[in-house]
């Protein structure tokens, strides 16, 4: 049987458009040192470091793990880098958890980051190769048709995306680390912003953020502080160009959820999971993932959103932190979901704490919705 694994430290930077005051090394150190402080530890107490970030083309630093090893106290220790596009933050935590669960290490530092202000992610995601005529412009250009297809299939009314955009930004007002904090955010404000990739409006998209997030993972034996226990973790991927692939509700997402639920003994996610931090970079992905993750029946996700069930005071709060819609340092965004899930079950989420949260889901997806990473953490030991 695998060793138990706990999150014993969480560190985040304040997410913002441009962190002009720090280098990339300074940024990741800020998160790492906060996580270590949270755990009451120093770099000396760490056995290995696992780092994650999205494509190197975003900052133009190739193999950043080599450059950042010393900055993260990894001299003389195992150091590895994970890359699974937007889901990388989640995958990074799961690779590190595996090192604990497999008994390889006692304490592993997990760090993920992005400093988007060093270039432009839409440029980096739209490097058009010769001979091709791909018309996909950035992530929004890629996901808009799949959102449109979801709306066609389910008959969801147009304002659902707006509701999520408002709800997550209201939550962000309670999270001091959130990037987009828009006082007075409401439907009218969201609806007054321009359509970028119809049906996606400007305020229905995530911001471009600079930021880093770090976790300290520990074995049961080496745990300090307030642990959040890992009850399950799973990753899945699927070929993006497979005939018959369901781009609205990818099979890899369903399989990944089934795996993590099985490990954590979850049979009814909506009832058993107290709070979920789910990767929603475009507001319509909330109802889409509600269905993909089994919180709602197929075609019913938008009704759950519309009912207010996913609000902070709803019966199944999603993205109490404000989510990716409020902070998006891409490579870190998945790890922030995992970290926020841990904060909730530790009872240390602050103003956006969901009362009595005992079991929480952290979720990330990436690429063309082809990579998935999820974990379930709990207040009690599994």
């Amino acid at each position: 049987m695998a060793q138990r694994c706990a999150v014993i430290g969480v560190g985040q930077t304040h997410y913002t458009t441009k962190r002009r005051d720090v280098s990339i090394a300074g940024l990741v150190r800020e998160a790492a040192l906060r996580a270590l402080e949270d755990a009451g530890l120093t770099f000396k107490d760490i056995d290995a470091v696992v780092i994650g970030k999205a494509p190197d083309l975003f900052e133009g630093v190739m193999m950043p793990e080599a450059y950042l090893a010393d900055a993260l106290g990894a001299a003389g220790k195992p150091m590895m880098r994970v890359h699974t596009a937007g889901s990388v933050g989640g995958s990074t935590a799961l690779v590190a958890a595996g090192l604990i669960q497999g008994g390889v290490h006692e304490r592993v530092l997990v760090v993920a980051y992005e400093k988007q202000s060093e270039s432009n992610a839409t440029w980096a995601l739209s490097t058009h190769l010769p001979f091709s005529s791909s018309l996909v412009v950035g992530a929004g250009g890629y996901f808009a048709p799949h959102i449109r297809e979801y709306m066609r299939r389910t008959g969801a009314p147009e304002h659902i995306g707006t509701l999520v955009a408002v709800k997550d930004r209201l939550n962000a007002l309670k999270n001091p680390y959130a990037h987009l904090r828009i006082p007075g955010i409401d439907r009218r404000m969201v609806e007054s912003t321009p359509m970028l990739w119809e049906p996606i409006r400007y305020l229905e998209t995530c911001p471009s953020s600079d930021g880093a997030c770090a976790l300290v993972l520990s074995s049961e034996r080496a745990a300090t502080g307030t642990p959040a226990w890992v009850h399950g973790g799973a990753m899945r991927s699927e070929p993006i160009f497979r005939a018959g692939r369901d781009t609205v509700s990818p099979q890899a997402g369903k399989d990944c959820a089934a795996d993590v639920y099985r490990q954590a003994g979850v049979t009814d996610p909506r009832r058993q999971i107290d709070v979920a931090e789910v990767y929603v970079p475009f507001s319509w992905y909330e109802p889409m993932w509600l269905e993909n993750l089994g919180f709602a029946a197929e075609g019913e996700g938008w009704k759950l959103t519309e009912s207010g069930a996913t609000a902070l005071d709803g019966d199944t709060p999603w993205n109490a932190s404000g989510g990716v819609l409020s902070s998006n340092p891409i490579g870190a965004s998945g790890l922030i979901r995992f970290a926020e899930a841990a904060l909730q079950v530790r009872g240390t989420a602050g103003e956006h704490q969901v009362d009595g949260a005992r079991l929480a889901l952290g979720h990330a997806y990436g690429g063309g919705a082809q990579f998935f990473a999820m974990w379930i953490v709990g207040r009690e030991k599994p």
Partner: protein, 299 residues
Amino acid sequence: MPSDEPLTAEHVLEFPGGYTRTTGPVIGRFLTELRAGRLVGVRTAEGRVLVPPLEYDPATGEPVTGEYVEVGPAGTVTASAWVAEPLATHPLDRPFAWALIKLDGADTALVHAVDAGNPKAVAAGTRVWPVWRGERSGHITDISCFAPEVSKIVSPVRSSYRLKAGGALGVFLEGIGRGVFVGGRCGGCGKVYVPYRLSCPECGILLAERTELPGTGTVTTFAINNLPDPRAPEVPFVSAYILLDGADVPMIALVGGVPAHEVRHGMRVRAEWVPENERTPSMASVRWFAPTGEPDVEL
């Protein structure tokens, strides 16, 4: 000088070679240090450090001490005024700020130009550093200007590749060059992939059988893009998933010949090729997909 206008003339009053200014010992010391690349002030009897130095304490009229104190080189802006349109005699030929700068260790502020790029980059509290002129002569302009701290560098990265469309892509593009879409059928699952590729992503086996597909198909879903793109003729433009007749995976392509908001799920479309003599083995040979006018397909 006579002018075209009656009773109007230009007149210049300038002492040939310029007036001289004897500096006296105190300002002379300041300028001499400046020529050597150092900034100094002088201490008053009350212990304050004046920069630029004076022979007397302006507050009391008492002579200053003979003690010179090295200050700076950095300082803090205490007040500034933005100059949006510099004049010919200004120290910089681009917009800049006049600023009062209190150098580190000084008790008074020095007036100088700050090359800040934009007015938001300079305010009371901004830290600035001198930018020295290459050749110094003992003049306040030995400092060409002050500038905010270095907080960012530009790091160009450029990789140059030579791409050769061989293999499966070459087969597909050769077809495009003669106006057909080449796909491949999987011997395992029977699915038809277009563009032609070497292996089936489901079964992992080679796509042995090539097949030529007609240029007609159905829009399965699409986005209306309001962000301009060099490959699209105008904004908004529609990028659509088009399932070619006989194919099992959709291709993403531009839809044209129809207003963006009239494009529908299930719309029947046909490839519009550029004229035969302009065709090349590149996707630029397909201008876009335009509606055929057939009834929509139920998806």
